[in-house]
Amino acid sequence: MTSNQVLSEIEYNVVGKRPVRPDGVDKVTGRARYGADTNQTGTLQAKVLRSPFPHARIKSINTSKAEAFPGVRAVITAKDLPLASLSKAELGNEYAGLKAASDHMLASDKVLFKGHPVAAVAAVNAHVAESALALIEIEYEELESVVDVREAMKDGAPLVHEDLRTNDMGVTADKPSNVATHMSYSTGDVEKGFAEADLVLEREYTTATVHQGYIEPHNSTAFWNSDGQLNIWTSTQGTFTVRASVANVLRLPVSQIKVTPMEIGGGFGGKITAYLDAIAAVLSKKSGVPVRALMTRSEVFEASGPAPASWMRVKIGVKNNGKMTTVETDMAMDAGAYPGSPVMQAIVCAFACYDVENGKVDGYDVVVNKPKTAAYRAPGSPQAAFAVESLIDEICGQLKIDPIEFRLLNAAKEGTRRIEGPVARRIGLVECLEAARNHDHYKTKLEGANSGRGVACGYWPNRGFQSSVVMTVNYDGVVSLIMGSVDIGGTRASIAQQTAETLGIAYEDVKPTIVDTDSIGYTFITGGSRTSFATGWAAIDAAEDVKGQMISRAAKIWDTSEDDIEYVNGGVSHKSDEELKFSFKDLARQLATTGGSITGRSSVDPTGEGNGYAVHIADVTVDPDTGKTDVTRFTAIQDAGKAVHPSYVEGQMQGGAVQGIGWALNEEYFFDDQGKMMNPTFLDYRMPTSLDLPMIDTVIVEVANPGHPYGVRGVGEAAICPPMAAVGNAVAGATGHRMRSLPITPGKILEATWENGKG
């Protein structure tokens, strides 16, 4: 039986190998410092008081008893934020944005979800801070709340924001609504396409609110020094985005804030928003000493940013031979308490696996009384893939066409134009589908009663954005690699590998360090499958800069022109005099006496898309008595472009697949009808354990990305898109019941069995 395959086109010396990661030893010995491990001298502990109601007006807050409690050093409310003393007129166009950002951090007039921060206390320890929270008196006027995305879209639904008006493709509606945005794109002639189809199927799908489920809770330690400098130590996916967010809410110039990245215990998109940093900062300013804020697990569930619940309608027309003629969808996603769901990405990704002439996609961003959603691994795309890939499976069943053959017939390829515009460069979906068709898993006959096999595709654009890298050549020939991208899953290694490859030196001779916002140029988040791609590219450019300077230095030593020298095989040599050559290390040893160290640098902002495609195959068995689904075999196939460190690429594929399996079968926020989450613990929010899973087999397909020097595409996200449909399609095969609502719980399966009389 196969397990991990890599289908390579090109071999390199260091890129594509599997070295031990530079931060590995610290992480297996407990020495790595995560955010909660920060300990500045004299640090106070903060606790946040949160709304018990999903929707209420704050009538009054009295903090005097908490302030008087022994051990309490500072208490803050929204009154302590700059917004409280700025007028709407003063802020002009900035007002709405600042009010939302400031209120999200600490509510001023209304609370919009259970867990919404209302006040915070800093005290000598967390127990004292917690006791003091109970002494804060708040008078609320409870308001009717709205929880379900479709209910929220109805006329007459309770309004989450009284002044929110729908932006309908640039036109603002005249009356308030919970629909923040409606977006719509189309291509070709949808009606004509449906008329030409031999089979048209239309179905509705729903998915539940789910959480990224990183094991490390949010944390931040802040020290507002008496010279006005604000220091923040935190576990975040992006130090520069934390800096920008805190600067915005606290009305500070960005350079007055230094954000130091601590190790981060998982993020998956959920650790981009800065929840605690400004609260800790204001408490520090008030108390004069450092303040550390940590969320509990329940706070993480209730007050960080889960991924949206969704409602989706999909309609597809096909010819009898399986050729798709038209696609159409409406997708509505709940943004939570403030606008900004990833519904745009959902409709962009929905049909990105297919080359169809006619299509129309509509997306609705809807506010509800739930925590403001955040990015979660390929935000928007997994929900969309569940709907589209489930419907395609149903079509394959009706037409009696093999699901991989159907997808090969319709697959997007180089030159395919997506409905909203972009035309694909060289992409690897066809190669992934072929790898799936050729895989031992797909060729092995499914055996046993109550078992089923499902296939599904997934897509994520994988974009670039800004990254900066600096590298210095030490006199022993070791290169210090300095970057601003935090390392969540092995990017120190993957970027060091690209550096070593470019310089032609050993991986062990590159020493990566991740630094604070004062010590490197702007670097966007570790997210969007961008770090190995974009920061890797910055490292390649900085290494090229080093190579140029090494040539200059050799020219100086040999008293010759730079044009006579070339950089080959990890060293410099004279083009016409064979005697004149330096290895990288030999030349490094000369640097001290020939002008000093060499520093390479680069800031990049790559545009275009890396285009990540994944195909998954899932086998399940469903217990007819209990409705419980077991995943018995799973294969994840993905185009990595070039896998810089195949083990960590496999890790991304396996991790994404398993998060998807959890999303498919178990994970769900249970809300009561007013929007209170009923299951904010890992006991009741059931993520997959080792016991629930088989090994996750992988195939890394390498179709080089024409938009990167080593062909890297980015791999973090596409893997979470196919599993829900792959599992759902397998369940349909096992039970005869098509599940159109996530998660596919035992209860739903039994209900379907009882209603439809099978089993």
Binding site: E216, G265, G490, L683, T689, L693
Partner: protein, 155 residues
Amino acid sequence: MAVTHVQTTLNGDEINFLCEPRQSLLEVLRDVLGMTGTKEGCNDGNCGACTVIMDGRIVDSCLVLGVEAKGADITTIEGMASPEGLHPLQQSFLENAALQCGICTPGFLLASKSLLDQEPDADEGRIRHWLAGNLCRCTGYDKIVRAVLQVSKAK
């Protein structure tokens, strides 16, 4: 609040600390003793990130009170490697890329050590069963299970 004196054995050394009766062993390790290798993931016994070995059994240190450590023998992640080098499981985790973010790693290593100390030939099924009390959200467990299997005598 009144504090209690506790004498215990931690990573082979006899140590003393003072703690409040309400403080968990996890809190004592991290906040009183400054040993931050033991991680907090949920503080309610559901994620296993704070796993330590106490008198030969794995426990969630968030569910044990500091005062309960009196007279106990406790191993934390800081006690797993020796002057001779990393524990074979630590080395295997590195070589098999069995960690991504690393926050759950100390807990997984101690749970795995406890398993192989008692059952040196644990197979995949036994490993998956034993580690079901430790949540990892990054890896999908595949590479963790393989890393433990590599050290197990069952091949």
